[in-house]
Symmetry: C2
Subunit: 537 residues, 2 copies
């Protein structure tokens, strides 16, 4: 198991208890109470965490807050208003439950470092606390309470898209901690340093790859159309999907084909969103098996010849054309492939950004085939006619440019190649001398497990083997990433080029460099990940 | 389809008819007759093939041979005696059927070039003629007949191993054209330049990887033991295996984990046979499906938990320990995995070097699991206890050496990573200016098709896309290699570094270089293949 590092910036050698992460992490923390001995335990723990100076400052703050707390009513703020407070200059606000806190004065006292607390600035604390289990102690909530400055207004309904003329007006609120690559459509990734802190990514921080506005779906009137053989069709309501088919749960990583495009575009410009290393996340998905639904609709286990299962989303462009994609029939009906029509994500209903109320989840396959806001499933001798199946999400040779590209010559990406990245430290960091901990993720497509991660501190000249964490997957169903860690001594003054590369169960490896896999759309960017850092005294 | 190049050295623009290769190529050629107009057609065709000077020399030779042919009886030679004639100094002898020919004087007249005919020196012509369809014309046999100098002695039985004290005494005769990496046990590969001439490798030239002496098996008393559930066991004779189970045919490439080890050992020495690029070959295999045999023995389609199907060969070491290996149960029973208990290879019974009378063929998986001379099949919760499953055929990090290696830390190789190599031109060649044809093979494990091969002529700086040949495989059952070809203009005086790299259906690619995938056993050597040549005037 990967040990959570309790404190980042200050590296206190403090053994902190680790707790299993709850599937309803946000709810758990929101419902937290000080518990027996709550405040009583806070002072010594904080003394250890913060050192004496910090505790004195905390005591002073506590006295002032105690006076302010006598005011019985707090002002109300919208999430948008809270979201404007993301730096010490603008004050640093966060929310927890429906409470609003101004933690500006605590930022420098934060045991995990000012940089980490600022990742949550302007938004909810819960997804970050889910990542760092140290917060799930009563004294932490106690401490926070004293910074309260307001409460959240009840959510206002967003203005209708038609009224504003902007089709994205109806998009849901998002956590301001996400690193946004495009607002409309919304495309964002979790901060890289948080990615590998937790095996399951909190829903609020799960990378979001939208191609179109988020549809507003009324769950009561929602119907999923499944076109069966011979012109028959099923029309399934949400309760029917939930009750007629056994609920199946799968822990699976989704990755966008464009993950790490920013690195590839440093070779030569490419067309596409500049994803860093965070277009990848992992969740526990729950839903009906696509296989069960297809068999229920009248399809057989096997069909002679070439067949594809095509999906359409409720998201559509200005002309009404929906997002669409397809997967081979064999994968759709294989009991070993675990393809879901998912209505749950980490034990909660699907968030709107992730396909509420129903999305496809195709484990081991490029995220683009896991169609969100699913409205229609059909079986066809041809792949989906969608733009995103036919003329996007394909790989080409470095010699192919926009004048010569012929999308018919390359297969639609399905399984992705082996991938890994370093999440800590970050590029350009000055790390302390002594023992350096390098952390990251690794994953491969098609259910192939990651069997080894090699890490180099000298640009790839010499290698060490990282320690792998994560669940032990069933053979050939390794749908989820592994998190890995390497500890190594580093000397003050050294300049390190940290490199990682993973090996999967078929002994496929990542290529050394990006130039030879460069392609005009910047997809499939899986060369060794390199991070340069310096070691300070 | 890849067009066979009719003439190599002289590049005459002669359109020659292409004939489908017969599965019983040797028999076809042995039975060949001049046919209608045989000798009559020879002269003009030869004139075109050889040019006038060659025809004059041929005419002179023909007169002399006509006189010699009046002698009714030829001397008898053993295969071993023929095998000593492999160079112009020792005379160049070849066989066809049971006839022995001294073709020394024809070597320089050979339209395909002296280098090509010398590949066959000392052995049978048939496998080479199977590669070069141009020979399947009556005049070729007619021409050959005039070089006859003897006939093969009836095969003598090899001395018994016990009598000589050498357990390899009973090994079968081999074609002298094979490039031998080890005589005892016998390990040999076809000459690299022949590899990609034919989609199916002739049996005589198929790479041979033996770990132990070749067992002498009496097909009449042969029994295959299949241990069923609950202590029951099947004992199948060869006729029973052939008659009780449907014959299933699969075209599959086998590759040794050590293919291209010689390149990896240039980084640092490794332990293992110095295979060049030829530890890979392709055949059409015929036999019973392992799945059918296992189900017949009482096993189910699925078993809860982890199970393995273990194989033992009749080949054994001095202590009696047999060669052994295993594959996961799921692959063994999957109808899509096409695992065979093969008794046919390219339409003929299995040659002794390839497992006569029965071998396993596991498509998409390292050759080491395709156990030859199969004697026993058993299902076990653990992998085969064999040395070759437990303590060999595994991949390690470059940082692992013989002092630190722990075989338990790495999974046994099953599916192999994506691979490709250049078969023409050969390293160090001086190629003519004008249009250069680069040829090679590409393959990936697990049934993943090769979707693209990139070729560079400048060491990997710029790339072109090769043309792929070969059969169109069913989805996810691409068990056979693809042959590829690139034609490009090259200028006199240029020094080329030709590089190839393949992309498979999961968009996995080959790594750029060998050093980062170096491992102490030199397996899984699949970095870009590089061939340096110069362009002559």
């Amino acid at each position: 198991m990967l040990l959570l590092r309790a404190v980042t910036g200050r590296r206190l050698p403090l053994p902190l208890p680790r707790r299993a992460w709850s599937r309803t992490g946000a709810a758990r923390f929101a419902a937290g109470s000080p518990g027996p001995g709550g405040t009583g335990r806070a002072a010594p723990v904080l003394a250890a965490l913060l050192g004496l100076g910090a505790v004195l400052a905390y005591g002073e703050r506590r006295r002032r807050t105690a006076q302010a707390a006598q005011a019985p009513r707090y002002p109300r703020y919208t999430r948008e208003e809270v979201g404007r407070h993301r730096s010490p200059q603008d004050r640093v606000w966060v929310t927890h439950g429906t409470d609003v806190f101004d933690v500006t004065d605590f930022v420098e006292l934060h045991p995990g470092g000012a940089d980490k607390i600022l990742l949550a600035a302007g938004g909810a604390l819960e997804p970050f606390w889910a990542l760092y289990a140290v917060h799930s102690q009563p004294h932490v909530l106690e401490l926070l309470r004293e910074y309260k400055v307001g409460e959240l207004s009840p959510e206002e309904a967003p203005p209708a898209a038609a009224a504003t003329g902007d089709p994205f007006t109806g998009d849901p609120p998002r956590h301001p901690g996400l690193r946004v690559n495009s607002q409309k459509p919304f495309n964002a990734e979790p901060p890289a340093e948080l990615l590998a802190e937790r095996f399951l990514t909190p829903n609020e921080l799960f990378f979001t790859r939208n191609h179109l506005p988020v549809p507003a779906v009324d769950p009561g009137s929602y119907r999923l159309r499944v076109e069966g053989p011979g012109g028959r069709a099923l029309s399934l309501s949400l309760p029917e999907l939930r009750s007629r088919f056994p609920k199946h749960e799968v822990t699976a990583t989704l990755q966008c084909a464009g993950n790490r495009r920013a690195e590839m575009s440093q070779v030569r410009p490419v067309k596409g969103l500049p994803w860093d290393i965070g277009a990848i996340s992992t969740a526990r998905w729950g839903g009906a098996r696509l296989r069960d639904v297809l068999l229920h609709a009248g399809f057989e286990e096997q069909r002679e010849g070439e067949w594809h299962v095509c999906f359409e989303g409720l998201d559509a462009d200005a002309g009404g054309a929906p997002y669409g994609a397809s997967i081979p029939y064999g994968r759709a009906v294989s009991p070993a492939a675990d393809v879901l029509l998912a209505y749950e994500m980490n034990g909660e209903e699907l968030p709107r950004d992730h396909g509420f109320p129903v999305r496809v989840v195709v484990p081991g396959v490029v995220g683009a085939r896991s169609v969100k806001w699913l409205r229609r499933v059909a079986v066809s001798p041809a792949e989906s006619p969608s733009h995103w199946q036919q003329n996007d999400y394909k790989g080409f040779s470095p010699c192919v440019d926009w004048d010569t590209v012929d999308y018919k010559t390359a297969p639609a990406i399905q399984e992705l190649p082996v991938q890994s990245a370093i999440t800590h430290p970050r590029p350009g960091a000055a790390v302390p001398a002594g023992e350096l901990t390098v952390k990251g993720y690794a994953w491969s497509g098609g259910g192939r497990p990651v069997v080894r991660v090699d890490v180099s501190l000298d640009g790839g000249r010499t290698w060490r083997v990282a320690r792998l964490a994560g669940e032990q997957p069933p053979p050939e169903r390794a749908w989820a990433w592994v998190l890995w860690e390497l500890r190594a001594p580093v000397a003050a003054g050294a300049e390190l080029e940290i490199v990682c590369k993973a090996v999967d169960g078929s002994y496929n490896v990542q290529p050394d460099s990006h130039a030879p896999i460069w392609n005009l759309r910047g997809v499939l960017s899986n060369a060794w990940h390199r991070v340069r850092v310096s070691v300070r005294d």
